[in-house]
Assembly symmetry: C2
Homo-oligomer: 455 residues x 2
């Protein structure tokens, strides 16, 4: 593989320059104002794929943000790898906590700092550059297709239909995705499970206008007090979710599998220290890795209402709001959970307030068998670069579109992640170590090689 090493060292600065160009585009999919940036990002990907050696690359419209698709078909008898990635990123607030402006990437301490540095611009760009490298060194062993979408961070609301409309074009033997993490820098891992997701926004209305808390306080329901009580009721003292029927479809993981999962290296003290917390917290009877890997959750992602400025204002507000999410385990159906939550939330509301529940998005979980040819190819690729057999790992995160791919296209996905826990994705100061970026570019061609051999 000396020619790969030479190619990487000859083109190292250019690879980073090109990635930085993509990172400078503030393609935040949840903000309407950034819509034009989604088109800029789509065009950037199109040019990237053409320059890397794609036969063709196009921007496809959807009901929402565009998808960039490109392909190189060498030989119909060879296996086909479909790369999935996303060009959209999360919002950046609280902006004041960033050490670099989030859309002005910089290298510091051997890491790339920017929103999207890892999730998912950095990780998907590794695939573009690995593809370019195989093309330019005439070592591409498979047909390649790229599908880069612009709505992953808002739940991919339009990609399912787009896949249905382009089934033939998207035919492939495996979907290859780098949108996950490894357990640690020296512990490669392959994500074999993903959690599903359901996400709501709720609004509680008390009086029709803000009131003086002295003249009305104590006699008129305060929507913040009420919302707090409603949220408090959604989990019990054992950390279990109280929505009736919520756990009906949760498959209890066997004692054997729990023992296997417990073998993954995990240092609780280090974990707590890295988060600066005195104690972990969660469902009674499960370990920290089980709580994120195999159990559903109930988290309030945002809350607001009343006076939130400087100093004191004695107000009894008209409204209170919350953004609420549940991570779901693979067998749970988010469309069913959506309704169970809504019905329960409406039911527990006192008659002194009105509530409105809006479902923002949701998705299914995913499970990948470890005897899949693609899994074995990925295992060998990591072993060659990291010197260690990767650990199969159930992640707490969600990429709902992965299970959609299986349903719509009938294709399994292999999740080769190079992220690290310290990357701070979705947080201020997102970063991606240069070492991981270049190791990704080294590992990916080996996956192609072994996948072509095993297939």
């Amino acid at each position: 593989m000396e020619y790969f090493e030479k190619y990487i060292s000859d083109n190292r600065d250019r690879f980073l320059d090109e990635l930085f160009g993509l990172l400078r585009i503030p393609s935040i999919s949840s903000l309407e104002a950034n819509k034009p940036d989604m088109y800029r990002a789509a065009e950037y990907w199109k040019q990237t794929l053409l320059q890397a050696g794609a036969d063709r690359a196009e921007i496809y419209e959807t009901q929402g943000n565009p998808v960039t698709y490109g392909e190189k078909i060498m030989n119909p008898n060879k296996p086909t790898v479909l790369i999935y990635g996303h060009m959209d990123v999360m919002p950046v607030d609280p902006i004041e906590l960033w050490i670099v402006p989030p859309f002005e990437p910089e290298i510091r301490d051997e890491k790339i700092w920017a929103r999207g540095a890892e999730d998912n611009k950095g990780q998907s760009f590794m695939h573009a550059k690995a593809f370019e490298m195989m093309v330019k060194t005439n070592t591409l062993p498979c047909n390649v297709k790229f599908m880069i979408e612009g709505e992953e961070e808002i739940g991919s609301p339009n990609l399912e239909k787009w896949c249905e409309d382009h089934k033939e074009m998207l035919k492939a033997d495996i979907i290859l995705v780098s949108d996950t993490s490894m357990i640690a820098r020296d512990t490669p891992s392959i994500t074999t499970g993903l959690r599903g997701l359901a996400y709501w926004q709720v609004e509680v209305t008390g009086p029709s206008r803000d009131l003086h808390s002295g003249l009305f306080g104590g006699a008129v329901a305060n929507p913040i007090n009420v919302l707090a009580k409603m949220i408090a009721q959604m989990t019990d003292e054992n950390g279990r979710i109280t929505i009736p029927g919520f756990y009906d479809d949760v498959v209890e993981v066997s004692a054997e599998e729990r023992a296997l999962l417990a073998q993954a290296p995990f240092d609780l003290d280090k974990y707590m220290k890295s988060l600066d917390i005195a104690e972990v917290s969660g469902e009674i009877g499960y370990s920290t890795t089980e709580r994120t890997g195999i159990r559903p959750t109930f988290d309030v992602c945002g809350i607001w209402g009343g006076y939130t400025g400087e100093g004191a204002k004695t107000v009894l507000p008209s409204k209170a709001f919350a953004k609420i999410s549940s991570r779901l385990v693979p067998n749970q159906d988010h469309t069913k959970i959506e309704i169970l939550f809504k019905e329960h939330f409406e039911k527990i509301a006192p008659s002194s307030v009105r509530v409105e529940v809006n479902y923002l998005h949701g998705g299914y979980g995913y499970a990948c068998p470890i005897d899949l040819p693609a899994y074995l190819a990925a295992e060998k690729a990591y072993l060659d670069i990291y010197g260690k057999r990767p650990v199969p790992f159930r992640s707490g995160g969600s990429i709902p579109i992965i299970s959609t791919f299986e349903q719509v296209l009938g294709i399994k996905s292999i999740l080769m992640g190079f992220g690290l826990e310290s990357d701070a994705i979705h947080s201020p100061n997102e970063n991606f170590p240069l070492e991981q970026f270049f190791n990704g570019i080294r590992t990916i061609p080996l996956f192609y090689k072994y996948f072509a051999e095993i297939f």
Copy 2:
């Protein structure tokens, strides 16, 4: 009193122009940025008093915002009335709900619309104009002192010391205050009780940075979930506050007095309709007027944390905040309640988070006996103008400085309010009917007259 009617009709437009000049100054005391506006308002008051006929008027510095003081001493043998009012106003958000910009006063539907139109610029300006009218018509029967402060809306943190430092100057027989409401336009009332207040800001910190809710959710305490549970615990299913010792000093009102209070006109259906609520809510065993008049409360005035923008962001935030207030009844000591809350809030916090409690301000309640000479004078003045004997009324609101005056200066206050419930003080679209403004200017000189006679 024909000469008063003539004076009012001759000067009506000028009175309003001068009030509008004061209303245009955005003297929001809780915002540091508006500090210069406090000095503009203080100067405006100084000029207003001098022009009305004060012997002298000065701006006094404090550790915080200035106080404008002015006086006219005619005859040391006559009784002295000390007017108290405040030049500062509440913040204006949510700004988008205002039908006129809050600092650009307008008259619509026979009402003045602006922040401060009633509370307290409109009501205190009635005193300036009534004073001017008595001076110009040579009918002033008492000595007059004005003390207009700039920190009422943030709890008057510096006025107590200022009063202590100027005890001699402030000597008076009664303090006259218009910073309260009447029961209704056709039901004059005199406020004989005020609630005390305690106000805290709390901060709950989970992990040291915002986390991905998928990778960490379920295993790390979410500060919003925790804050909601803590707030929920502060009141029980009977609407009673659960802080140990909270009710220790609450004097239960006798059955006789409750029967008397129940005679004040109150239409529950109209009340609920005006607030657009299907049901009132509060402490079991008490009526709506009792809940605001004679019982303490626990209201969250503001809450915030996590992602509050458009769309969905799956984040497990680092911090959550709330602004919490309790209205207290006259015998409760806010300095004791301050500590009881703080200790309880810290005690119920799970060890997976850190909490910080900051006391923003507080004050004592107040009670005015209905056989006080000033009460009788006020009663006669209202009767003359409104044709009805005013009802003694226990308000749910707080003017903590009123009880401080009693403690520091040894002077009782009489609360002659002309506000109405529909004035929307502290809310968007604060307003003050012209009729109430001019009736105030008519009623005040009669108070002086009767007070000088009775005294």
